[in-house]
């Protein structure tokens, strides 16, 4: 453990820092002063080394920082035109992660990635009568929550994401560029209940 960390932990152990020792940041020599300042204030809250939390994490996690500027993104951006540049957007990295350490993976501040997403997107929780099983296993099967160039933060555009798994009938048939199976919302133009359906006739996620 870095000696500087020991000094900080004398007062700041506990709370969200209970699992700091042995955490990913700790074991990779990312100490307290890598992200926090002590003798001067830069950020408005939490003594961060940069103006905002996103900028602080973005020093090392540059790709995740860059992806929030992609076409589909969560409301993380600090925003140059906010009334105060010291305030983060509506979300920040700590909305999902605990950088001080967690017992789980990826520093997710919940028991699983899916449960983390469902804390705000509880409409996808179900259980549904007709499940779309990859949805119940992991939201990251289809989405990248840091941001993507595809709508709804999908990792691949439609219909390619769907045809990665589905190939029977019209998903597998070759289509022309203007086909209704390809343009617009593509597969979701009929299969709109993609996260699951509670309708008795919703087996195909149509209703």
């Amino acid at each position: 453990m870095l000696s500087q960390d020991a000094s900080c932990l004398q007062c700041h152990e506990g709370g969200k820092r209970r699992f700091w020792v042995g955490s990913v940041h700790n074991t990779r020599d990312v100490g307290c002063t890598s992200c926090h300042t002590v003798m001067r204030s830069v950020s408005e809250r939490n003594q961060l080394s940069q103006k905002t939390e996103v900028a602080t994490c973005g020093q090392c996690h540059q790709i995740q920082n860059a992806r929030q500027y992609h076409n589909a993104h969560m409301p993380l951006r600090p925003g140059a035109f906010q009334s105060s540049t010291a305030v983060d957007g509506k979300m920040s990295c700590s909305s999902c992660h605990n950088p001080h350490g967690t017992v789980g993976e990826k520093l997710i501040a919940h028991i699983s990635t899916r449960d983390n997403c469902l804390s705000c997107h509880a409409d996808k929780r179900g259980p549904f009568l007709w499940e779309h099983v990859p949805v119940t296993e992991d939201c990251l099967n289809c989405h990248d929550p840091h941001g993507t160039t595809r709508e709804s933060m999908l990792k691949l555009g439609l219909p390619r994401l769907c045809t990665s798994c589905h190939g029977t009938g019209h998903p597998g048939n070759p289509q022309t560029a203007g086909s209704r199976f390809v343009v617009g919302s593509s597969c979701l133009q009929c299969h709109g209940q993609i996260h699951g359906s509670n309708h008795p006739s919703g087996r195909r996620l149509l209703r």
Binding site: G15, R18, F19, G22, T27, R40, S41, V42, E44, K51, A55, G58, Q62, I63, N65, R67, Y69, A80, F81, S83, G104, E105, I111, S112, L118, C120, D123, R125, P127, F128, E131, V133, P134, T136, E137, N141, T149, L156, G157, R160, C165, G167, T168, H170, P171, G172, N173, P174, S185, Q189, C190, G192, H195, N198, H199, P200, S201, R203, L206, R207
Partner: protein
Amino acid sequence: MRRAVPAQALAAALGVFALAPGPAGAEEELGPVIVSGEAQLGGRGVWGQSGSAKFREYRDIPDGAFGSLRFLIEDAERRYYLKGWLDDLAEDDQQYRFEGGRYGRWGIRGFYSEIPHVFSRQAVSPYADLGKGVLALRPGFDRTLAAGSPAYNAQLTPSTAANPSPTLPTRLQFRTIEGSGEIFFKPTSEWDLSAGYRIFDRDGSRAKAFGFGSPGGNYINLAAPIRERIHEARADAQYVRETWNLGLNYTGSFFVNDLNGFSADNPLTNPLAETPGSSALGRSSLAPDNSAHLVSLSGAALLPTSFPARFAGSFAWGLSLQNDDFLPQTSNQTINGNPLNAARLVLPQNNLDGRVQTLAGNLVFTARPHSNLNLKARYHIYDYNNQSDEITFPGEVPNDRNIRAGTTSIANSYRRQDALLETTWRFTASTTATLGFEWQHWNRSGDREVRNLNEYGPTARIDWRAAEWARMRASYAFAARRGSDYNALPGALDGLRKFSQADRLRHRFDLQAQLDPRADLGFTITSAFSLSDYDDSAQGLTDDNRWNIGIDASYQLHERVGLWANYAYDYIWAFQEQGGGTWDSTTYDTAHNAGVGATSS
């Protein structure tokens, strides 16, 4: 699909300017209290096509003044305090945060935020929202006209003063209001107690589509209503000692949807012409009310060994419930009104009686048996046990047309396990090497193609401090994923493997360099390269490769002024083949991000 950025939207983005907000702050003694704070006030002007939804996706950016407020009120001894952060005052994305109490002992926090989510400011629709989930074609829309005829199509063109039509502007956005309150109490230096409540309220609409024909025939897009709330209650207790700590947490989440479904007129079938094969009205379900309860116990402890060793773990039990009443099988009255269909339209039960039990466990062990040697072991298990009823429906009416034989719903369950073993050896003063092994196992039930899936492989990492001001890291991970027999579902395409269950070989390389040649100058470079080969997939996704690089530079120009610049490049290449080789698809995604700025403190 790549879309050209509308010139007007780009102009709007470039045309926005803001007068630098002028802060004014002070600290004053007012009787028994000390008040300090800061007020910021600025002016904003926007020109260009300010109607761009993407520009205003999560923000309210009107012309005129904007401001924020910060304040801190303390007693003379500075034991008690009240803080406040108020931003975007009186705007649709306003946000307020308060905290007060006694330093280090107890406090209360409050938070209020409004988040707009704008999908489009130019949407038009022939549907009107009549409330309670009813979307009806506006008066004047004539469904008896021949589909595709000039007269019919004229109804779908946006209404103008010269050519009025039933297709009028419609709202395609929703607003989330988040509010929360929390109390926290620290009765002793070891105890941390807190309890809180949070609510999300979402109101508005979003684009949704469904069809009236099959496959892919006669579908409509409309603004489906959103009337949802999430209530979350939480209680947390932690006990922290020098060598061990323990925590207990309860979280209850309750999702409430004012609408269990919505209905919409079929623009191509009027009620007098309805047939079993073409319904005049379609009805779709919306997300059902549900609840989830989670109790978790976590803790960590230093082990009584002669060398530093620590154990951390957590155990969580969760229960999710859902018993919203089912909608009827169909809204097609020619099907509902035929007594011969009655037996197949019967709903065996009123609701799913949905119940899912989850168990999650984490164990982490770290040790330093030698000053140059670190050991780490981690184990994670997540069990998703779906105990919902499996219901056999005698019939079904997909797309509200043509009743046919029903089927049985399936409650899928799964268990996922992960394990990691890692050892780090510092073999010179400036260099450490890490070797590890990772394993992941999936066990699935229900109608899944692969019952057991294993992914495993070695990892390696080198950390090198080339100089006091230069640190570098390089890592490599290989993973081979292999499953039990792939039992394709009936009718599935031969050789197609669903990527979440398919065999896979994955290579991943990561590089990072942190350079601080001077106290006022720093650079960070990161790069990652991932190659995924779905080697047993003859069809479907066969390759997924990703590469990215990011560079960040910062320079402290002055004690109170810093400059920064960054650039990131993201590249994705994915290949899939389908249709027995009749077609294949290569997807390329590239993104460039660059930024420059200055900060003052």
